[in-house]
């Protein structure tokens, strides 16, 4: 509902009506995080700065390890829409320790400082074991470091139901 002509002076009346409508929609909603779409969504996270911090010793035989994030709904909505996010940092917690496209790696996601490199093997994948569960959903993520690393992970979920999130190494 946004148009490039919205800012024209002759649209002032319309803009005001739209703003009243928007404010009205926001006031009526019962939650802090409401939306004009009529859908109440939640940003679910724990109160910890980081949910999981661990130093993983490099094992040349099997370097890959797995993180699993679990969302547990509060039971008020069956099969909610949940989008998982894992804020993952390697060897530090600044923005430069975030995951990104690795240079020269053809779109592979990971982190590198030039010597230590961590590859993400694929995406954050849903775990089919929990598909029948109306309230619990789980995702896994595979990481492959080439040296001993310390990682910091925090689980977030954007969801249509409130709940809790956990993250663990499995």
């Amino acid at each position: 509902m946004q148009h490039s002509t919205d800012l024209l002076p002759e649209r002032a009346f319309e803009r005001r009506i739209r703003r009243i409508r928007d404010l009205n929609a926001e006031f009526k909603s019962r939650q802090r995080l409401s939306s004009l779409g009529g859908q109440i969504n939640y940003h679910v996270q724990s109160e910890n700065d980081w949910d999981l911090t661990e130093t993983v010793t490099y094992n040349p035989v099997s370097p890959v390890f797995q993180l699993a994030m679990t969302f547990t709904g509060n039971g008020r909505q069956s099969f909610p829409a949940v989008f998982p996010y894992i804020d993952l940092r390697i060897n530090g917690i600044t923005d430069s320790n975030k995951i990104s496209y690795l240079p020269g790696m053809f779109g592979t996601l990971g982190w590198t400082d030039g010597t230590t490199t961590v590859l993400l093997l694929g995406a954050v994948r849903p775990d089919p074991v929990y598909f029948p569960d109306p309230f619990v959903q789980r995702w896994t993520l595979l990481l492959q470091p080439n040296a001993t690393i310390t990682y910091y992970a925090k689980a977030h979920a954007m969801s249509s139901s409130d709940g809790t999130v956990q993250i663990a190494r499995v």
């Binding site: 509902m1 946004q2 490039s4 002509t5 009346f13 319309e14 009506i17 739209r18 409508r21 928007d22 009205n24 929609a25 926001e26 009526k28 909603s29 019962r30 995080l33 409401s34 939306s35 004009l36 779409g37 009529g38 859908q39 109440i40 969504n41 939640y42 940003h43 008020r76 909505q77 069956s78 829409a81 989008f83 998982p84 996010y85 894992i86 804020d87 993952l88 975030k98 995951i99 990104s100 496209y101 240079p103 020269g104 790696m105 053809f106 779109g107 996601l109 993400l120 995406a123 954050v124 995702w139 993520l141 977030h156 954007m158 249509s160 139901s161």
Partner: protein, 162 residues
């Protein structure tokens, strides 16, 4: 609420907005539904006013396969009013064999793409990010449209990373 083809005329926009406000108000008041609140409403946005968002070449050479090229993007949706919203993005990928004079839909397996939520990176209030990878024979001409679907009005930005 009747929807007519006149609803989107500029001179009828004020009326359309009032009708929508009435509708949303009714749904909120009357609903007692499992999904909580009123019926879900989605907003659709064509990036770049329905023109190609990006035109270029798959010129990132694959280290494993030198005849394969790629282009890698971040697509960012930004909402102004709401911190947390549900959204999705689709793209429509085209290719050209005459230097961009004519464009035809690009088909797998020769040309393919992956579009995923930027789940392993971060979460930011008001923002939803997606990662897009285009893979094609090296230096193929590619272009794509992008469209966002979300529960709030958003703006869309496409950034090429590699």
């Amino acid at each position: 609420m009747g929807v007519t083809s006149y609803d989107f005329l500029p001179e009828n926009q004020a009326q359309t907005i009032l009708q929508e406000a009435r509708q949303i108000s009714r749904e909120r008041k009357g609903s007692d539904q499992r999904v909580g609140g009123s019926n879900l409403r989605y907003f659709r946005l064509d990036a770049n006013d329905g023109s190609f968002v990006w035109v270029g070449k798959a010129d990132q050479q694959s280290p494993q396969s030198p005849s394969t090229g790629g282009a890698f993007f971040t697509i960012t949706l930004t909402a102004t009013a709401v911190q947390t919203f549900l959204s999705d993005v689709v793209i429509d990928l085209y290719t050209s064999t005459d230097g961009g004079a004519t464009w035809v839909p690009a088909n797998p397996p020769t040309i393919s793409y992956q579009l995923e939520r930027a789940a392993p990176i971060t979460i930011t209030p008001y923002v939803s990010s997606y990662l897009l990878s285009l893979v094609a024979p090296l230096n193929t001409d590619l272009a794509f449209y992008a469209q966002a679907l979300s529960t709030v009005p958003v703006s869309i930005a496409v950034t090429r990373n590699l």
